[in-house]
């Protein structure tokens, strides 16, 4: 990133030694720098977990393949899932929240800058600890041993008896530590939004990105803690002889499942809601219209926040709950689809009657809309408990959640990167490379994840390192794996774009997209203090009002 020094015309500023720059970045409490650190950290783990996925897909290309042993395969899918959720998804979204929320509400920084830094470094420690298991889990004399219990770590597989050594402990510890970081950031975001808005920015005038990060942070507070609690219980079981999940002592394996999914389901909404926020900022700008139904979008998100706390056992439709429980979770799961659908309709309503510009951020947003629609519908299928008794634990679910997480979250993140990269770095990302990235990724994504539904319907369960020929899964798995490679090539184009554009991209200026929220009123990159004078706002689109003084939003709100 360009230096934090303000350019004063006529004054020469000496190049700083790289050590000083490094020191500045390591000790920073500036929300913009911490945001960038989160994002870079997450992109690194995106590549790491992506490589894990590629190895998995090569192993599964043919039945009875021998690329990796079952032990290594089981570690790979555990690492892939855990890394993508905790060390890619959460950090990148916290990174964007960190960068954008103070700017969008006209604030100088987050409410607690030092807590911000502390939370980042805690999360980073978590990621480091998790991968240290490759070296440390069996002690230095034994080979490293990454966790292999799946990213849900079901009991009693995680008991000492079934998971010897320390790999499971690294899983628990790494996530405990990064969980504290997440809670710290969530507290910070809430305090920032509630206490640091610029004058005139009532809650009803806040950008939707701020609203949605507020809801997401509230959800983090309530739902990350159950995972923390469950992991403390797991460590007590493994080290202090506790019996929380010890079925031999009367303990319950189901209890772990409930605790985990009470975290796990809201977690996926925590991952998608910031992407909804990106859509709500990007789609209006590239349709040249305000978001359709702002109050409804807020209400729907709050509704999703609450209802999503009541659906968790749809991950447990096969475990033998009684028919009343299964019916309850069916209706709550389907109910949460209603506000989500409303949001899709509102984005459609935003595009309707607009003048759509197909720049790369909008391309990824359109991809998001189509894919999230499909993902939501397969979610409805999975929410129907009886139908789910066939679909759950199979590749149909794997296809569904990759549709939401890749087709939704990753596409949303790509849209956000293309949209805000100019603001963060002062340079535009290359549009041609961006289009290559988009189309290659879309083709690879659909090849892989559309087809992936079918082996599930044909009985292929998840988490298997190999499969028997003659089940009808062979050709499908081969094509799915090819799609994964196409996605990998797209990612290479993306990384190339990030680097080349940073070095040689066109200068962006303050407001390359002709947008309407406060971050576009300052330089790209912003000065360290953000705003020279504290802004005041009278509507939801303060820059629209400034650009169109004859027809300001404040007249209509």
């Amino acid at each position: 990133m360009s230096s934090s020094a303000i350019t004063i015309p006529g004054v020469q500023i000496e190049d700083k030694p790289w050590v000083d720059t490094l020191h500045e970045w390591v000790t920073t409490v500036d929300h913009k720098r911490l945001g960038v650190l989160y994002i870079l950290y997450a992109l690194l783990f995106l590549v790491v977990a992506g490589v894990e996925a590629l190895i998995i897909r090569i192993q599964l290309m043919f039945p009875h393949n021998h690329l990796v042993s079952p032990q290594v395969f089981n570690r790979l899918f555990t690492m892939h899932g855990t890394t993508m959720v905790f060390f890619m998804g959460m950090p990148i979204l916290f990174g964007f929240a960190n960068y954008l929320v103070p700017l969008m509400i006209g604030a100088r920084d987050m409410a607690f800058p030092r807590l911000n830094a502390f939370s980042f470094w805690l999360s980073a420690l978590g990621g480091f600890l998790f991968y240290f298991s490759l070296v440390g889990a069996n002690g230095l004399y034994g080979a490293g041993n990454a966790p292999d219990v799946g990213w849900w770590a079901y009991a009693p597989l995680t008991a000492r008896a079934f998971s010897a050594g320390h790999s499971t402990d690294y899983w628990a510890l790494a996530l405990l530590v990064s969980g504290f970081g997440s809670i710290g950031t969530a507290i910070n975001i809430i305090a920032t939004i509630l206490c640091m808005r610029c004058p005139g920015m009532k809650l009803s005038r806040m950008p939707l990105l701020a609203w949605l990060n507020l809801v997401m942070s509230g959800m983090v507070l309530i739902s990350v803690s159950p995972l923390t609690a469950a992991q403390i219980m797991l460590v007590i079981d493994r080290y202090l002889g506790g019996h929380f999940f010890d079925t031999q002592a009367g303990g319950s394996a189901m209890l772990w499942m409930h605790f985990f999914w009470i975290f796990g389901h809201p977690e996926v909404y925590i991952l998608i809601i910031p992407c909804f926020a990106f859509m709500s900022e990007i789609i209006p700008v590239f349709s040249r219209k305000p978001i359709f139904g702002y109050p409804v979008m807020v209400a729907a998100t709050v509704c999703i926040g609450f209802v999503s706390m009541s659906v968790w056992a749809h991950h447990m439709f096969s475990v033998g709950m009684n028919s009343y429980a299964n019916s309850f979770f069916t209706i709550t799961t389907m109910a949460v689809g209603v506000p989500t659908g409303i949001k899709i309709f509102n984005w459609l309503g935003t595009m309707w009657g607009g003048r759509i510009q197909f720049k790369v951020p909008m391309l990824f947003s359109i991809g998001f809309l189509f894919q999230f629609l499909i993902a939501g519908l397969t979610g409805v299928m999975l929410g129907s408990a009886a139908f789910a008794s066939q679909l759950t634990l199979s590749y149909f679910v794997v296809a569904h959640f990759h549709y939401t997480l890749v087709g939704g979250v990753v596409f949303g993140v790509f849209a956000a990167i293309y949209y805000w990269y100019p603001k963060i770095t002062g340079r535009m990302l290359n549009e041609t490379l961006g289009k290559w990235h988009f189309w290659l990724f879309v083709i690879g994504f659909h090849l892989t994840f559309d087809l992936m539904h079918i082996p599930g319907l044909l009985g292929m369960p998840r988490r298997i390192y190999t499969y028997e020929p003659g089940r009808g899964w062979d050709t499908l798995n081969l094509i799915i794996s090819i799609g994964a490679f196409i996605q990998a090539i797209a990612i290479l184009a993306f990384v190339a774009n990030l680097i080349i554009s940073y070095l040689k991209g066109a200068k962006a200026g303050n407001d390359p997209w002709d947008a309407w929220t406060l971050e576009w009123s300052i330089s790209s990159p912003p000065p360290p203090y953000n705003f020279a004078t504290v802004p005041t706002v009278a509507s939801r689109r303060p820059l629209w009002d400034l650009k169109h003084p004859e027809d300001p939003d404040s007249r209509y709100e």
């Binding site: 042993s69 031999q248 189901m254 040249r288 109910a335 519908l377 409805v380 129907s384 003659g470």
Partner: protein, 337 residues
């Protein structure tokens, strides 16, 4: 996309029905009442979600094409519309109604599958999940076997469904034969139940669906749905005590003096271990190692000598027998019909 899916399903359903001995297990080709109930529900759910998809997809495509920005519009902003209460109400109420309909249909199917009463003629099987094999006990028939389940076909006029009690000896497992029923987990300290009434004879494949450890992938299931006569014959065979063949006493001695009998049971002998599969009628099974290999003398020999060659990470230890001991043991196994 969903249309393509459906097409594919129809094709494979036809394919599967045409040749029941293929390994295809298609959830849309149900052969038992609980699976049929789920398939009927699924078709309904697919139809409704399919309609929603077509409608929204069309609107999305339309809006992208119709409202794309053209060069002539540069500099002019379109009408700034903030929302519409009526539209919001419409697209809130209609989805709520759809949700209610889908829920009611689902609740009916859930109840029909889960709360079905057990009729008098039902076969009762207790399935116990182990790392990485299946133990099957028929308490009323005095039968104990492993990995391959034999059940009678059920005549709707005079139903003889199979009701399973699902237990686990160690971690979580899941019993899934797609064409016979939805899956139900086997969870330690939490007995579960499920039922199936296969409506045609044949072999139905499946496997463990809940990650249970290293060899989760090869914890395969094989269900043989037999005609009433065949089933009765099978039961009679399983109820017999172990074959005592004098020509294999050496092998039997190898079996009983090594650690084999600590894990395995052979009826009416000193071997009564419960950790591994019951071997009394091993030769009545088509596969060994829970489906990981076919039941041939060569595979059996390899399995005893080096299980990791067939199922790396399985809990069967390599027995480190000498060649002659191995041959003797295999000959003994071969007599356990």
């Amino acid at each position: 996309m969903l249309a393509l899916l459906f097409l594919f399903m129809a094709t494979t359903a036809v394919a599967a029905l045409a040749d029941p001995s293929t390994g295809i297990t298609n959830i849309f080709a149900p052969a038992s009442t609980p699976a049929k109930m789920v398939t009927h529900l699924s078709v309904f759910v697919l139809a409704i979600t399919g309609i929603i998809f077509v409608v929204v997809f069309t609107l999305l495509v339309y809006s992208i094409i119709k409202f794309r920005g053209r060069a002539v519009d540069a500099g002019r902003e379109p009408a700034q519309v903030y929302g519409s209460t009526q539209i919001e109400l419409a697209w809130t109420i209609i989805p709520i109604l759809i949700v209610i309909v889908l829920f009611l249909a689902t609740a009916r199917a859930i109840h029909a599958v889960q709360d079905a009463p057990e009729p008098a003629g039902a076969i009762e099987v207790t399935a116990i999940g182990h790392q990485y094999w299946w133990e099957f006990r028929y308490p009323k028939l005095g039968v104990v076997t492993a990995n391959e389940l034999h059940i009678p076909v059920s005549d709707p006029a005079n139903p003889t469904p199979t009701f399973l009690t699902l237990l686990s000896a160690d971690t979580d497992h899941s019993f899934w034969i797609p064409e016979l029923a939805g899956k139900t987990d086997l969870i330690p300290n939490h007995p579960n139940g499920m039922w199936m009434d296969p409506l045609r004879t044949g072999i139905f494949l499946g496997q463990c669906a809940q990650y249970c450890g290293v060899q989760h992938a090869k914890m395969l299931l094989r269900v043989s749905v037999d005609s009433p006569a065949d089933f009765a014959a099978w039961v009679r065979g399983q109820q017999q005590p172990a074959v005592q063949d004098a020509s294999v006493t050496t092998g039997r001695r190898v079996f009983e003096s090594n650690a084999c009998m600590n894990c395995h049971a052979v009826g009416a002998t000193a071997a009564n271990g419960r950790f591994g599969p019951d071997l009394t009628h091993l030769m009545s099974r088509v596969t060994i190692a829970s489906g990981a290999a076919t039941n041939t003398p060569e595979n059996l020999r390899l399995w005893i000598q080096n299980p990791d060659a067939i199922k790396p990470g399985s809990l069967m230890p390599a027995m480190k027998l000498s060649d002659s001991e191995l041959d003797a043991a295999v000959s003994y196994m071969e007599t356990l019909r």
